[in-house]
């Protein structure tokens, strides 16, 4: 008897990541059998031995998984606390930004490892969060067995925060990194134009490194200090520098 979860809260983060990674161009039966295998936590061979009508029936009974999980998230998990996005440091934001741009579902546990932090009370009785000087990928596995509904909402929350952040500091961002020029495009442009585009692409590619390099005035031994500064503070300074042209 195949037991399928009844709701997203019965599905783990690991299952959800796997579920989201199913190829969507291999046909409906491929998709549905893989989905069922992941959600029911049964080997694919067991699902493949079912009569196709049984699969259809099971998929019909479990149509809840067509919808998205709840967009809420827990503020405390595994003895750690959620770090509000407006308190992020530059390095934390850079890493989150990278994980979001490069398959945020696949990187969900890395994202969680950055967002949930250990805390302690300092000598002044204030709760402080651990600094971001650990490798988030080593901590990521801790989140795999949690229900997806504990953390899924972080994604939307960060996307909202990121959009707002990019809007607030749009004068500091030079736009998205374009694709490389094709041979046909090159043929239609003059060499100066090509040089200019390539320079822009190169600047965009190294934008974060360039920001840090400029803030440390080329002294890369100070990079970690700059990276640990609050994101908003860094961007306010960058805005000021740009406005005053200093």
């Amino acid at each position: 008897m195949i037991q399928v979860p009844k709701q997203w809260s019965d599905v783990t983060v690991e299952q959800f990541i796997e579920f989201n990674g199913i190829a969507k161009d291999q046909g409906a039966y491929y998709y549905n059998s893989e989905a069922l295998s992941i959600l029911a936590d049964e080997p694919i061979e067991i699902i493949e031995d079912l009569d196709v009508d049984e699969l259809t029936e099971l998929i019909k009974e479990n149509s809840w998984c067509v919808s998205e999980p709840s967009k809420k998230y827990k503020h405390e998990l595994l003895g750690m606390k959620f770090k509000p996005f407006n308190k992020l440091t530059l390095y934390e934001y850079i890493d989150l930004d990278y994980y979001f741009i490069n398959n945020y579902i696949g990187n969900l546990t890395n994202i969680c490892a950055i967002c949930y932090r250990q805390t302690r009370v300092n000598e002044w009785g204030e709760e402080i969060m651990e600094p971001y000087d650990f490798d988030c990928t080593l901590r990521a596995d801790k989140f795999l067995d949690l229900p997806i509904t504990d953390v899924y909402g972080i994604l939307q929350e960060f996307i909202k925060y990121r959009d707002n952040f990019l809007k607030n500091y749009e004068n500091l961002f030079s736009g998205e990194l374009d694709e490389d020029l094709t041979d046909e495009e090159r043929q239609e442009m003059d060499p100066e134009e090509i040089k200019e585009i390539e320079k822009e692409q190169s600047l965009a590619k190294w934008s974060w490194e360039q920001t840090i390099y400029s803030l440390t005035k080329g002294d890369i031994t100070k990079s970690n200090k700059v990276g640990a500064l609050p994101l908003i503070y860094v961007f306010n300074i960058l805005s000021m520098k740009k406005e005053l042209d200093i």
Partner: protein, 179 residues
């Protein structure tokens, strides 16, 4: 069979082979050919060169096409057992998820020869393991043998597969990307 230019050409499902049926279907699905070209190619494939129709009256040609496309209304009993090169292959009107996934893959990716491969998936040798049965080389080999059978063998299975797939499309509960 119909008589065209003093030659007998097969046009009924129990007269043409699955291979011929697949080729005719492929010609008919060719979007680059107009209806007349399609039929000229079909007749050429069945043994009447295009050049023999060059002096043919258009109205007569249309008549030939109509006769060729006229299928006799008859039952196509389900063949559940095939004897091919000394082995017995059995099929039932039943599909496992694995069968269906493979059939779906064939239907999605194979432009020619998908009917014989679909049948090759459904007809199984009882002495083989699942791994042996579903092995790509075995399916291809069996499809090659099945291609020589008459197309009427395929009809009940094609109807059955189409019904199953349309049921899936009707339910259409395949999960969407959660983005």
């Amino acid at each position: 069979m119909i008589n065209v230019l003093n030659r007998e050409i097969p046009n009924q499902l129990d007269e043409i082979t699955i291979e011929q049926f697949e080729t005719i279907t492929e010609i008919n699905n060719n979007q680059e050919l107009d209806p007349i070209d399609k039929h000229l190619k079909v007749f050429a494939y069945l043994g009447i060169p295009e050049s023999e129709f060059w002096d043919y009256d258009v109205a007569d040609f249309i008549g030939v096409v109509k006769d060729f496309n006229k299928l006799e209304q008859k039952e196509h009993p389900t063949v559940e057992e095939l004897e091919l090169e000394g082995f017995t292959y059995k099929a039932q009107m039943k599909l496992t998820v694995r069968d269906t996934k493979m059939i779906e893959k064939v239907a999605l990716h194979k432009e020619k020869g998908y009917i014989s491969e679909m049948l090759a998936i459904m007809f199984k040798r009882e002495d083989l393991t699942a791994a042996e049965h579903y092995a790509d080389a075995h399916i291809k080999y069996k499809a090659k043998l099945i291609r020589k059978l008459t197309a009427n063998v395929a009809v009940p299975y094609l109807i059955f597969i189409a019904e199953k797939i349309s049921q899936q499309v009707k339910n259409d509960t395949s999960t969407q990307a959660v983005e």
